[in-house]
């Protein structure tokens, strides 16, 4: 079993020895005396240290492995989208990352420091904001009291507290509701209030577990705008969602989970380039065969499908620049084009294809 980088110089105590002689931390049974921290996950050139790192993380529950040996790095300012079918282990992985669950194996690093659920570490807890799916609010408090309560829990100084609450209410568009009881809010508003609660202490990493599930399109759009605003402010965000079009809109990296494994983790562009099929719909005012002949000459054209006498659908292997090149070459060849429509498969199709492929495996 290959160990990820950063675990090459681990001390002998406090770690389990793997079958190949390498070591990994088994959580839950170490005392602070036993504990010798492993080496911190190293930085990637030009990106800096990861804001949150997960190493070899595994969760077994009732003799079933729910999360399987996952390595993951979230770099500052990154928006990481986690997708996968129900029961893939997304929620469990997120719960372990925020300290709500104890991993069976592996370790979590936040801002270069080891994070353990059983050790009280207020400064690391302040680095994390978490919004689970369907988070219950306190019915007996007003919006303002609710946020103030969490601001106090996170030790925000009195001088800063009111300003922060005002700003955040403004951001989540709940300023006009600050005297309303939480029971009077709509589901979308409640979810936005939950988000406000998660960011009240300005965490460096925000973990959102299916935040838009059950929201209507308008509420979803409002929520998406807030996340974009947070992204612009430089917050690192990990978000899981089944609305993949939303994720494609603002995520810089995508991870696909299945059966507890992180089967894919790559920047969105790379994922598109690698896994997304591109199609070009071309229509001509001239002769169809001439167009087909001109397309044959292009290296990136994988296959052609005649839609009608003067319309052809092309499966294209190149990127946007290559598509531009094809357009230029067709014009140069004197083909009278009336339509050149370049499309690619969206994230949902990639995900479904990926799922099929893995299930076949």
């Amino acid at each position: 079993m290959n160990l990820p980088y950063g675990l090459s110089e681990i001390g002998e105590r406090g770690f389990e020895i793997m079958e190949d002689g390498s070591e990994a931390l088994i959580s839950g049974f170490m005392t602070s005396q036993d504990w010798q921290p492993a080496a911190m996950p190293s930085a990637l050139p030009g990106v800096g240290n990861p804001a949150l790192s997960v190493r070899n993380i595994t969760k077994r529950f009732q003799r079933k492995t729910v999360v399987n040996d996952i390595d993951l790095d979230l770099f500052p300012g990154e928006v990481y989208g986690l997708i996968g079918p129900n029961g893939a282990g997304k929620t469990t992985l997120m719960s372990m990352m925020v300290g709500a669950e104890m991993p069976t194996l592996g370790e979590i690093w936040i801002e270069g420091q080891l994070f353990r659920q059983d050790q009280n570490s207020p400064q690391l807890q302040r680095c994390i904001g978490f919004l689970p799916d369907d988070y219950p609010l306190y019915d007996d408090l007003t919006v303002w009291q609710y946020l103030e309560y969490f601001a106090r829990l996170y030790g925000i100084s009195p001088g800063l507290r009111h300003r922060r609450i005002y700003d955040i209410l403004e951001l989540v568009q709940l300023s006009s509701k600050h005297h309303s009881r939480t029971t009077e809010l709509s589901r979308g508003m409640k979810q936005r209030l939950g988000l406000a609660r998660a960011i009240i202490h300005q965490p460096s990493v925000l973990v959102l577990d299916e935040p838009v599930s059950g929201l209507d399109p308008v509420a979803r759009m409002e929520f998406r705008d807030i996340i974009k605003a947070l992204q612009q402010s430089g917050m690192t965000i990990l978000i899981s969602s089944h609305v993949l079009s939303d994720l494609a809109d603002f995520c810089s990296t995508i991870g696909i989970m299945e059966l507890g494994y992180l089967v894919e983790s790559a920047p969105l562009n790379e994922l598109y380039n690698r896994l997304s099929r591109r199609q070009i719909f071309i229509a001509t005012l001239g002769e169809g065969p001439a167009l087909a002949q001109a397309l044959d000459a292009h290296a990136c054209v994988v296959s052609q499908t005649r839609v009608s006498d003067r319309e052809i659908c092309v499966e294209f292997a190149g990127d946007e620049a290559a598509a531009g090149e094809l357009l230029r070459s067709l014009i140069a060849a004197g083909i009278p084009l009336c339509q050149f429509n370049h499309t690619r498969e969206d994230l949902e199709t990639i995900f479904l294809k990926h799922l099929d492929h893995k299930q076949v495996s």
Partner: protein, 591 residues
């Protein structure tokens, strides 16, 4: 509609919130004008009713009716009249009775009302999942729980605070010294804290009951309070319950009407017997200072244990209900307390075998509770088994150039770490820790007998020790059976385990009785040596029967322990293998 509190109080609230945000949150949710109005109306209404009840019993011009408050009463002339031709009233007695009525209400409302509110609040938060967010915040569990303790029953506290002026005034007018009334408040507060900690702990433990635990703990506490209200002094461990009723603290004060049981609402305790209360031959009940110190120490000590267990369970819900190390301390405290009440007076111990019977019964109940409180969840046990399975790798770190020495060192280190785990680790099976607890109980038992022997001759001490030994062996077997059942893949294993324990401890002696096997005579009386109550047969059994019984117990305990050890080993092995297999499969799944 929400009502804002005045500016000044908001500033005070802000200061409170600065020190304990949880406390402020609880106050903010509850302190609304409507709630306050309702609370104070109820409080003053109750006070008015209690006053009215006593004032209605004052003697009037009809001199032979309502004579209990006459200053002087003559059966022929009725109440003595004053210069204004009105009956002379014994006002201190009237006020003393109002004081007692109010004290009764205070105790019940504060303790049972507070328990209900706290348990309901915590179990609701636990059920809804909001408690996890408090755990994940940087605020320490202790401050959150303290905030809950002081904040959740705030309306109750305010209602009671509104009663205190009248309570104090009637107490003073009823000839109770101010120090005594204040001492009563102190003891009431300490007992309430003890009950509250227990209620919060229970609310976290019994989360599977889906809110029913609130009613259960309130009912149990009310039962305990009722029991403490109806005590008869028996010189036995049950006398301990005297200390759980704050009203008994007032028993020592020589106030008019104290000795009349009818003067106390619903109280049936032997109040004069209470003065005979002792602890390890110390005459606790005879001196007011002792009573006060004992009641306070008892409530605070138990409250502290509950609080430690509560904090631990709150911080890490996956933990067992009670830590193994905590259990040793708690068992020592409980057995000392109970043995102390068992040995109140020297004349109480003619035969060790008979006298310590109630101590043994109490400790059997405690040991059965411990079996379940120390029992790890299946996941915790699996994690521990996997960790144990992987220990040889750690133990085999190079320590010496000599391979045989290295092997011996590694084996001894493994043995040591296993013992430490069995003694202290939450995930390990609890039988070994239970054995230590039973040993502590036996130690205190010997101390009790030894102290008694110093004062007066004690008969059958060896039989008494042996009886406990047999009983402890049966309890250990129960613990091992419970662990076996917990490891099986059964849906309702808790019920099955409880049934198995009941069958071994109660069912088996019952079967022997019903089948006519008499411990005192009859051919098969020695079978009673295999029950948790072998004292009856110890006089009759001969050496070989006792030896056979000991051997049978040892074989059973060893067999169950070895089997359990092997099962844990297999589980650990398969868990580790599953973990490693899945780890290597990841490489295959990578695109």
């Amino acid at each position: 509609m929400s009502y804002k509190l005045p500016q000044l109080s908001e500033m005070a609230f802000d200061r409170v919130g600065h020190h304990n945000p949880q406390l402020l949150r609880e106050w903010q949710g509850r302190l609304r004008w409507r709630n306050l109005l309702l609370t104070f109306s109820l409080s003053f209404g109750i006070q008015g009713l209690l006053l009215l009840k006593r004032l209605a019993q004052l003697p009037s011009s009809r001199l032979f009716i309502n004579t209990q408050y006459c200053l002087q009463y003559d059966p022929h002339q009725g109440c003595q009249l004053g210069a204004d031709q009105q009956p002379l009233i014994d006002w201190p007695l009237v006020w003393a009775d109002v004081f007692r009525d109010l004290s009764f209400v205070l105790v019940w409302v504060l303790i049972i009302g507070g328990i209900f509110l706290l348990a309901a609040d915590l179990s609701k938060e636990n059920r809804r999942g909001t408690l996890n967010f408090l755990r994940m915040s940087p605020l320490r569990g202790r401050r959150i729980l303290l905030g809950k303790l002081l904040g959740v029953p705030i309306l109750l506290y305010l209602g009671i605070a509104a009663m205190l002026p009248l309570h104090l005034a009637t107490g003073l007018m009823g000839s109770y010294p101010v120090g005594i009334v204040l001492a009563f408040y102190g003891v009431l507060g300490a007992i309430a804290l003890c009950f509250y900690s227990a209620a919060l702990w229970f609310a976290l433990l019994a989360e599977g009951l889906q809110g029913f635990q609130t009613w259960l703990i309130s009912g149990l506490s009310a039962g305990l309070l009722l029991l403490s209200w109806q005590l008869w002094h028996f010189n036995l461990s049950g006398d301990w319950f005297y200390l759980f009723n704050p009203l008994h603290i007032l028993a020592d004060w020589e106030v008019k009407g104290w000795g009349q049981q009818s003067a106390w609402p619903f109280i049936g305790s032997d109040l004069n017997g209470f003065r005979q209360l002792g602890w390890f031959f110390m005459p606790v009940g005879s001196h007011r200072g002792w009573v006060l110190a004992f009641a306070l120490a008892n409530a605070l000590l138990l409250g502290l244990w509950f609080w430690v267990a509560l904090e631990r369970k709150f911080q890490t819900p996956a933990n067992t209900a009670l830590g193994k190390q905590q259990s040793y301390g708690l068992t020592l405290c409980l057995s000392l307390i109970i043995m102390g009440f068992e040995t109140q007076h020297p004349f109480n111990l003619p035969s060790a075998l008979d006298t310590v019977f109630s101590y043994r019964i109490s400790m059997v109940i405690w040991a059965v509770l411990l079996m379940f409180l120390l029992l790890p969840s299946k996941q915790l046990l699996l994690d521990w088994a996997r960790y144990r399975h992987h220990q040889p790798h750690r133990a085999s770190q190079p320590t010496s150039r000599n391979p045989s020495r290295k092997q011996a060192q590694s084996s001894s280190r493994r043995q040591q770490s296993l013992i430490v785990d069995l003694l202290c680790h939450d995930g390990s099976p609890p039988a070994f820790a239970l054995a230590i607890n039973l040993g502590i109980i036996a130690g205190v038992f010997l101390l009790g007998i030894g102290l008694s022997a110093l004062i007066s001759p004690v008969t059958d001490p060896v039989d008494a020790v042996m009886a406990w030994g047999f009983c402890a062996a049966v309890l250990l077997i129960c613990s091992l059976v419970v662990q076996w059942i917990a490891l099986a893949n059964l849906l309702h294993w808790r019920w099955l385990a409880s049934g198995a324990v009941a069958a071994i401890i109660v069912g088996w002696p019952l079967v022997l009785s019903l089948t006519g096997i008499d411990p005192y005579r009859g051919a098969m009386g020695y079978l009673w040596l295999t029950t948790a109550f072998p004292q009856a047969v110890l006089d009759m059994a001969n050496g070989s029967e006792i030896f056979l019984a000991i051997a049978a117990h040892l074989v059973l305990i060893s067999g169950l322990s070895l089997g359990l050890g092997r099962r844990c080993q297999i589980l650990g092995q398969s868990e580790w293998k599953a973990l490693m297999d899945q780890g290597s499969r990841r490489e295959y799944l990578r695109p």
